[in-house]
Every structure is written in C-alpha cells, then in structure tokens.
Amino acid sequence: MLTELDSPRLSLPDLARVASVGLRTRRARAALSALGIAIGVAAIVAVLGLSSSSQAGLLAEIDRLGTNLLTVTNGQTLFGQTAELPLAAPGMIRRIGPVKQVQYTGSTSANVYRSPYIPAVNTNGLAVQAASIGLPHAVRTTVAQGVYLNAATAREPVAVLGAQAASLLGIDRIYPGERVWLGSMWFYLAGILKPAVLAPEIDDSVLVGFPAAERWLGLDGHPTTIYVRSVTGQTAAVQSVLAATADPGAPNEVDVSQPSAALTARADAQGALNSLFLGLGAVSLLVGAVGVANIMLIGVLERRSEIGLRRSLGATKGQIRTQFLAEAILLSLLGGAAGAVAGAISTILYAHIKHWSAVVPVTAWAGGLAAAILIGAIAGLLPAIRAAQLSPTEALRTV
C-alpha cells in the first residue's frame, strides 16, 4: 500500500506480462503481423551469413591451394612480339634458394579433335601444351580418371586432358585404346585432370610430354609458363627476383604473377552484391513496421474497455503508453528472433551443401534484432500515444 500519492513503476515481469496480453489473446494476428519483420530480418541475416560463409569457404580454398604459387610467363618484346623464355629458365629458377618446386608447360600450335573427320576449324579453342612430369602437384590438382604422364609416356604419343578440355571433347572416362587426333596423328589418352583452380589455363589444355611434343608437334623446347612453388613467407622475395632469373638478358619481357592474389581479391569483393539484398531486407522491414503499426492501432480501438479498466484500476497515462509501446516492441522482437533463426538455419543449410563452414556474423543477427526492436518502438509510438490519450470515461463507454 502506498502512503504517499505516487504511482509506482511496474516491475519488469509485470510489464512483460501486461505487454504480452494482446499477443497471447490474439496469437494468429500477432504471428501474421510479425511475419514482415521476420522476413526482413531473415533476409538480412541470411545475406550476411551466406556472404560470410562463402568468403570463409573461398579463404579455406585459398588456404588449401596455397598462396606460394607464382607463375612466370613469356611477355612481349619492346616491339610487341611474343617473347620467348630461355630454355634454361626452369633450371635457373630452381637454383633460387626458397624455391621448392618448378614445373612448366610449353605451348604448341597443334590442335586436337576427336577424329580426323572433324572440320579443322572446330578447334573448341583448346590448346595443346607440353607439360613437365610434376605439373599437377605444383598446381594442386590430381587426375580424375586414369593416370598422368610419366617419364615413359612423356616420350610416346600419349595425352592427358584438362577438365574443361575433356568436357569440350565429350570425353568423360578413360578406357584402353582411347585416342584423340592431335596435330596430324593419333595420341592415346592416359587420364583426365580435375579442375586446377590456380591455373585455369591448364583446364582447357590437352597435355603431352615435352619429348613427345618436340618429336611430333614441332616444339622447340622453350617453356611458355613456369609454375614456381616457393617457401611460404618468402613468396614476395622470390617474386621480386623471378623475372631477372628467368631471362637475365631481358627481364622486362617476362610476366610474373601470383594466381592466389586474384582469389583473395574475389574474397574481398564478396560483399559488393550484398547491398542489393540488404536493401530488399530493409524494404521488407519497412513493410513489417507498417503492419505492426496498423495492427497496434486496431488493437487500441478494440481494447478500449481494457484501457478504461486499467485506468480505473489506477494505471497512469504513462503506464498505458508503456504497455502498448512494450507490446509493439515485443511483437517486433519475436518476429525478429524468428527471422534471425530462419536466416541462420538457411545459412547453415546452404553452407553445408556448398561444403563451406557456416559463419553467421554477430553483427548480422544482433543487428537484425536491434533493427527489430527499433522498428517496434517506432511503429508502436503512435498507437501507444493514442492509447494513453484515450480518456478513461471514453474508454469505459461501451457500445
């Protein structure tokens, strides 16, 4: 009992109970009006979660492939002609201290077909390249079918298909005696490679051994691309000396690049498309806010007698205002929580399918819930003020 005439504040449990009256008594309506908020928050959480997860997936991929691969390619001469890497370049590079692995390919001018009857113009854009024996390991790929070249098959008319080349030629399995028309003779197929993410130029190539290429395809033995694996942490140092080592006479005619840099840039650029989807989520939140405000206004009209009763029981205007404001926030928060859970679940499911590790950033779900609370407060403000300004005698007048 109060001795002085002062209205006490409602305790938090009392406020929670009073604020949930409308939601408990009209469940279906509350659920539907919270749906807009739920969809908005789900969209935001899912978009941020998916982009974080795919970024994590890409970084994991980069990690697996290694960032220590450098490629050396023949550039152009000062007069715009294609330069040639010296024959000795791979051997020279191998002598750089922190270099662990050196493999190389050499381009030929030959084309490859399923059979001699295919018109010569239908090249499929496939390249025929001579390749060193350890190439797949250096670019972190393996054979999907059959075997790779070895010291013996490198001297014979034997070819291995890159992943893309195999699909363009319509070959999906290896069987004994299978062959392709390469240059102007049959080459037997030994295997098909898996995609090489760090060296996509290998994917649309047909690979033969250097001795075979020199004997039948007129290759002069000059490498065109050299793949260099360095000790991790010394990659930059190796990169800085590669051009001069590969062609000391004309280092400016040598192009050196780090293929993983492109993947890293892609990972960094992941967020670029997000703003569109985040915008859609924001629109959904706005629509949800209008829904909540609408339902709260209707609620105030319908619950006039409840408001009148509460005023007669001693509720102040402020307590009525707080009740309806809290109800709007609660409604919106429940929608937001459901949306955050839905967004997180869809992120986890999609990441699972894509074999990424699922990442739901704290900023995504916490931000979504905070947005829901803010929206509830804004949407509930007008209805709450209306409810508080209703005169108790007006509210008690029924019919």
């Binding site: 006490p8 005023r311 102040t316």
Partner: protein, 226 residues
C-alpha cells in the same frame, strides 16, 4: 462518522458552445461504512457522477474530495494513485480478462498499487474467498456464470481494501435471482465494513440500501435514509 467522499456544489458541463450541463450543484457526502444507492433514470447524470466520484473526470466547478484529498489539487499521476489505492470499481459489463485465471484477474486489482506479485495473489485469494469463490481460483471467466463473474469483479474492486467501492449497475447484466444474490453479497461486505456506493436505475435495488440519493436531470432531488 468520517467522510470518505465529499461532493460540494459539483457541476459538470460537456462541450463548450453551448455547454451541456450533466450535473448541477450536487452536494452530498459518503461516510465510512455506508451503503448508499444513487438512483436515477437514464440521462439523469448517474454515469457522470460515477466518473467524478471515481476521479476519472474532474468537475467543471465545485469540490470533490476522496478521503479528504481534493481532486482539484492533485495531478493526473496522483489521481491514478488515488484510484489504485483508495477506490474500487465494479462495472455492469464485469470487464474481466478472459484469458487470465480468476485469481490473476483479481490480483490485477493491485497491479498499479505497487504491491509485490506474490502478495497480490495472496490478497486476491482472500478476496475471492470473501465473495464465495475460494474454490475456483484457477477457473477462467468464460467458465463462470454471470453471477460468478460479477463476484470476481467485486473481489477485484475489494482486493486492496479501498476506502470506497463504486458499483455501476452491478446487477444490470444479471437476471433478477442472480441480481438478488449479488445485492446480498454487497450487503454482507458492507456489514464487514466496506463503504459501497451502488449506482442504479432500479428502485428495487436501491430499496435494499439504507440510504438513497435520487438524481433527476443532473440535480439531487432527494437524499433519504431509512
């Protein structure tokens, strides 16, 4: 006998141009422990009087005082506290929360009086026992008869032991037998010390009260004690 409620030359006008008078020069007092009926036909100003006595509205002129506190000198917040602690209301339409138990409905009578939750429920159980519903604390209003619902509403009005209980047509929604029982309960509660004002248009109901104030066209035309 100390005065719980005092009305002095109370006038209430509605609207501004021209003002419509609802009450004119009403003067009477209610002492502690009284059972009083305000009797009048529809349009006589009963509802306006109820709202003024219940501090839900302020008079246009004149003085309204509850337990000595002048309504004109109190802020809205303070009037809310007066209602929370010193006035109990009983309405014709009961106004019970259908999804809450009977016990919670009655406990809500103390929600705005600053009483802790456990204490509210304990007092509510006592009040329900006093109106004869001690065995139905867990029931929900739709499971009760009209008479039982009005008993719950009366328990809610009484739960804080207010200085005065204002009952607006408490039997208006009930059949005559049930209405009789509600009046018997009101008499019993008055016998236990509660100050109760019954507002009604039924002479039969008013006749059961020891004192009757009769209203007509916003004026008191008689104030009789039997």
């Amino acid at each position: 006998m100390t005065a719980v409620l005092e009305l002095e030359e109370v006038t209430k006008h509605y609207g501004a141009d021209p003002p419509i008078p609802a009450l004119q020069g009403v003067t009477f007092g209610v002492g502690a422990g009284e059972l009083l009926a305000v009797l009048g036909p529809s349009g006589s100003g009963k509802s306006t009087l109820l709202h003024l006595m219940g501090t839900l509205e302020r008079p246009t002129s004149g003085r309204v005082a509850i337990t000595g506190l002048d309504v004109a000198e109190l802020a809205d917040r303070e009037l809310a506290a007066v209602r929370a602690t010193r006035i109990g209301f009983v309405f014709q339409q009961f106004f019970l929360a259908e999804h809450s138990s009977v016990l919670d409905n009655v406990a809500d009578g103390l929600l705005y009086a600053g009483v802790a939750a456990a204490e509210r429920r304990e007092q509510a159980a006592h009040a329900l026992t006093a109106v004869g519903l001690g065995a139905r604390l867990k029931a929900r209003p739709p499971q009760l008869s009209g008479g039982e619902r009005q008993r719950v509403a009366i328990a809610r009005a009484l739960v804080g032991a207010p200085a005065i209980v204002l009952a607006d047509e408490p039997t208006g929604n009930l059949d005559s037998t049930t209405g009789e029982q509600i009046m018997a309960l009101i008499e019993e509660l008055n016998g236990n010390g509660a100050t109760i004002v019954v507002i009604t248009h039924e002479h039969a109901i008013a006749a059961r009260c020891p004192r009757r104030v009769q209203l007509l066209d916003g004026r008191v035309i008689s104030d009789t004690v039997s």
